[in-house]
Amino acid sequence: MTRVDEEFIFQSIREALEIRGWCMLAGQAARGSTDLPVVQARVGSMRGSKGALKPDLVAAIAGHLLVLELKPGFSTSDVDKCNELASSQALIDSLLTDLASRRKWPFGSSGQPERPRCFLTGIAYQGEVQHLEHAVCFALSESNQRWSTRLPLLKPLSADLITSLSI
């Protein structure tokens, strides 16, 4: 059994999604800087990054957007973060605006960021895969270091998106 840290999860899930055709738009590794910008979602006008939700990884494929929280092990607080983001249109709009201002996501003709075909949140960690109601669950096996995906129970997804998520 090999225990891993969050940096490993970041790199491993990134590679697994890229192989499936996902494009990395933004992210924040647990340590150090990468080639990805750090983006945030926030409501209100507090200064700096106070009160902001900064996703660990944001990826896109064919107009779908996936926002991930990463941890070495399963974390209920990450599930809560996913639910908070997915249930707040203001937070989603804020995130899309930040991505679009960095030219990582397109602006529509109205001057507002385009709405994704599907907005998905998810978690990735090492451990047993979990059934989540609204978020995708990516779990890295401790025994063979392979990823498994569990789709959200209450969110219908298109067939092409299901294929892209099955890593």
Partner: protein, 306 residues
């Protein structure tokens, strides 16, 4: 030749390894907590942990710091301690960051590097006779950072030269980088004359009395408006104290070598409030408050350090 990379982040260590073919097979080590590393690493992390330490045959030949942040205002302060420490250990220091890039948020716009940082780096390198270089992370026409920083002009050449010869001030890639820093600093100073003088939080003037053990008659007072409710902190102030020290006080490599005394002024704190929150404990980062100033001034008294 045995090369080792010591890093604070595995992702950054692997990024650094990919900069130079000869690093491809070298070992990567994680910088541990204080007192758990070999001596040559411990010396370099006395103030803080840099992102990368490159060692050649057990001797550090380069310290590298890397950040995507645009270093406006005093944001850069949190990184300066580790850079200063590298120079104190006669290890060349490279900092990779954007000189000019877009900041995002409510008031988005193009932001410039605090040019005093470049001036400090040039001055510090001269005093320590060791290169302290800032390299520009490229940005696109919109001000967004390009790539992962490995495309920065001159970076690969400096790493290569570190391995082959060690970086000295007279080395061609060092001279070239220093010229770029100087050119950028000058262009900003022409556009914004306020950078030529100290910022609002710093005053250089005649001392009201003899300051420090050397009895300085001129003093550089750095006013830090920490409050009792939020005074257990170091960043970015302890880094910025080094910047002002090298720019306005120092004339040598030792903290005692000053033509002007450095005073850290805490008008909202009593001495006991400060000391209880920030003890001079060498195992804690709070010891940086005591690293270079001559005196600390509080609302109810002062501490003479040197």
């Amino acid at each position: 030749m045995e090369l080792e990379i010591w890093g604070d982040s595995m992702l950054e260590s692997e990024w650094f390894r990919d900069l130079e073919p000869r690093l491809a097979r070298c070992r990567i080590y994680s910088i541990g907590d204080r007192a758990t590393n070999p001596d040559h690493i411990e010396h370099l992390i006395l103030y803080d942990r840099p992102d990368i330490i490159l060692c050649c045959n057990g001797v550090p030949v380069l310290v590298l710091e890397k950040t995507r942040e645009v270093p406006t205002g005093h944001n850069i302060g949190q990184r300066l301690g580790r850079i200063v420490r590298a120079l104190e250990c006669n290890t060349p220091a490279l900092t990779l960051l954007p000189f000019r890039a877009r900041k995002h948020g409510l008031h988005t716009g193009i932001c410039e590097i605090n040019v005093r940082v470049l001036r400090m780096a040039i001055r510090m390198g001269t005093l320590h006779e060791t290169p302290c270089l800032f390299i520009r992370w490229p940005v696109d026409a919109h001000g967004e950072l390009v790539g992962d920083g490995s495309e920065a002009p001159g970076l690969r050449g400096l790493v290569e030269h570190s391995i082959d010869h060690g970086l000295e001030l007279s080395a061609a890639p060092v001279v070239s980088t220093l010229e770029q820093m100087e050119d950028h600093a000058r262009s900003i100073e022409v556009a914004r004359a306020s950078y030529v003088t100290p910022p609002a939080s710093v005053e250089v003037r005649s001392a009201p009395r003899a300051v420090g053990r050397a009895g300085h008659r001129t003093v550089c007072i750095y006013t830090i408006e920490m409050t009792p409710a939020a005074c257990r902190r170091q960043d970015p102030y302890t880094g910025m104290q080094f910047l002002y020290d090298y720019l306005y006080c120092r004339d040598g490599t030792d903290v005692a070598n000053k033509h002007t005394a450095l005073v850290l002024h805490f008008p909202r704190l009593t001495q006991s409030q400060f000391v209880s929150a920030n003890p001079n404990d060498p195992l804690r980062k709070s010891s940086l408050w005591y690293a270079t100033a001559n005196e600390l001034w509080f609302s109810d008294g002062e501490i003479v350090l040197r």
